[in-house]
């Protein structure tokens, strides 16, 4: 058998036991054969390594199609978890820490009627009395309309203040703000209180910046509700 053929079979693990003996003998007896065999074994080793690399690359490519599917799936899970967490934390924070809207509700109380003492049983009622009676009864819509009318006819600043109070109770904080700002420019006994209600109006509107700014003014410029203003400043988120 030719040496080449023996080497070929050796490389491919195809030698018969007899051929194996011949090869073993040649390795010891023929340096040329030995060198030649070694060269082919080197080729086998190098080319196998290269082939393995290519196969690993192929497996990685196949795997990446699976992993991408999983990644997309994972992405959805993560996204869903975040939504859930955000949802949960907002629920929890409502439980732990009141929202600005809730803060408003717990601090806001329409300012009492200090303008028109209501005498029960008095059959004669002027518009002013009707307005404040409505206000005291909690008929804020009616009261607001009457206060507006009275303000136009009398130009008394305190009507602005009570209009705003009625509006805040009616959850119309946005409309209350300009009235309170207008009232603040006037000088009457209630102006001092207006600042506090303005702060609450901003709170209701979730305008934290203005609410805090106004509360600070409550603290520095008035004596009304300073304790509450201080508390609120700490609670506003």
């Amino acid at each position: 058998m030719e040496h080449e053929e023996l080497i070929e079979k050796y490389i491919q693990n195809g030698l018969t036991p007899e051929e194996k003996k011949v090869v073993d003998h040649l390795i010891n007896a023929d340096p040329n054969f030995k060198g030649n065999l070694k060269a082919h074994l080197n080729l086998k080793k190098a080319i196998s390594a290269s082939d393995d690399d290519a196969f690993k690359k192929l497996l990685n490519e196949i795997e990446s199609t699976h992993t991408t599917k999983r990644r997309n799936y994972t992405k959805w899970i993560v996204a869903a978890s975040i939504v859930l967490l955000v949802g949960l934390s907002s629920i929890l924070s409502i439980n732990n820490k009141p929202s600005n809207d809730e803060l408003f509700s717990s601090y806001f109380e329409p300012y009492r009627n200090v303008i028109q003492p209501i005498e029960r049983g008095n059959n004669f009622q002027d518009e002013k009395t009707i307005a404040f009676t409505a206000y005291e009864k909690g008929e804020y819509k009616k009261a607001f309309e009457l206060f507006s009318k009275l303000h136009t006819s009398t130009n008394e600043p305190y009507y602005l203040f009570y209009q705003a109070n009625a509006l805040l109770k009616l959850e119309k904080a946005k409309e209350a703000v300009p009235l309170l700002l207008k009232h603040l420019k006037t000088k009457d006994t209630l102006t001092e209180k207006s600042r506090w209600y303005l702060a609450l109006a901003y709170l209701k509107l979730n305008n934290k910046v203005e609410a805090k700014k106004t509360l600070k003014k409550v603290l520095t410029e008035s004596t009304y509700k300073t304790k509450e203003a201080n508390e609120l400043l700490k609670k506003i988120k």
Binding site: E8, I11, Q12, N13, G14, H40, N42, L43, K44, K45, A46, I47, S48, A49, S50, D51, D52, A54, F55, K56, L58, L59, N60, I62, E63, H66, T67, R70
Partner: protein, 180 residues
């Protein structure tokens, strides 16, 4: 073992490998989960086991194996899972392993840690610069262990003398590349 699978492994045609790899992948990951390894570890092990399986196909070892490809592949994988657990814990918690009951027989696999010599490394890097035809014929012969006749069967070469001359020409080119 299924003869067609062995042939697929040896020839390593991407589509056939994809089929074999994918059809057993999820089952293996499920199988491995019982041992408490994480997803990434199991994917790595599955790939290693698959590479080992192919090596056995090429060396002719699978021809004598009686079990199915899946059972054998899982057996190699199980051996590698034990190896990985040993790595992680130093000592395997045999109580946990006892609880894992499956009929898969472990197939030991020794990784060849034999580094390539400098000459072999040189051959490998230059081999990748050879033309596609040369790479193909040399890969089929040296790595896949196909005989010249088998190469004629699975390629466009018309007869074995064409294959032989092509092979010697390619080796000559490769050797010249290294000398330069």
């Amino acid at each position: 073992m299924e003869k067609n699978h062995i042939v697929s492994l040896i020839h390593s045609k991407p589509k056939e490998i994809d089929n074999l790899y994918t059809s057993n992948r999820d089952a293996f990951l499920n199988f491995g989960k019982k041992y408490g390894l994480d997803y990434d570890d199991l994917v790595d092990i599955y790939q290693e086991a698959f590479i080992a399986l192919r090596k056995y196909a090429i060396s002719g070892k699978l021809n004598k194996v009686k079990s199915s490809l899946k059972t054998y592949l899982f057996g190699i994988g199980k051996y590698m899972i034990y190896d990985r657990l040993k790595e992680l814990n130093k000592t395997v918690n045999y109580d946990t392993l006892k609880k894992v009951e499956d009929s898969i027989e472990v197939v030991p696999f020794e990784t060849e840690n034999e580094e390539l010599t400098i000459e072999q490394q040189l051959l490998r890097s230059h081999f990748k610069k050879l033309g596609k035809k040369c790479q193909e014929v040399l890969t089929l012969f040296y790595s896949r262990g196909l005989t010249i006749d088998e190469i004629v069967e699975c390629t466009n070469y018309t007869n074995n003398s064409v294959v032989r001359s092509q092979k010697s020409r390619c080796i000559k080119t490769l050797k010249n590349m290294i000398k330069l």
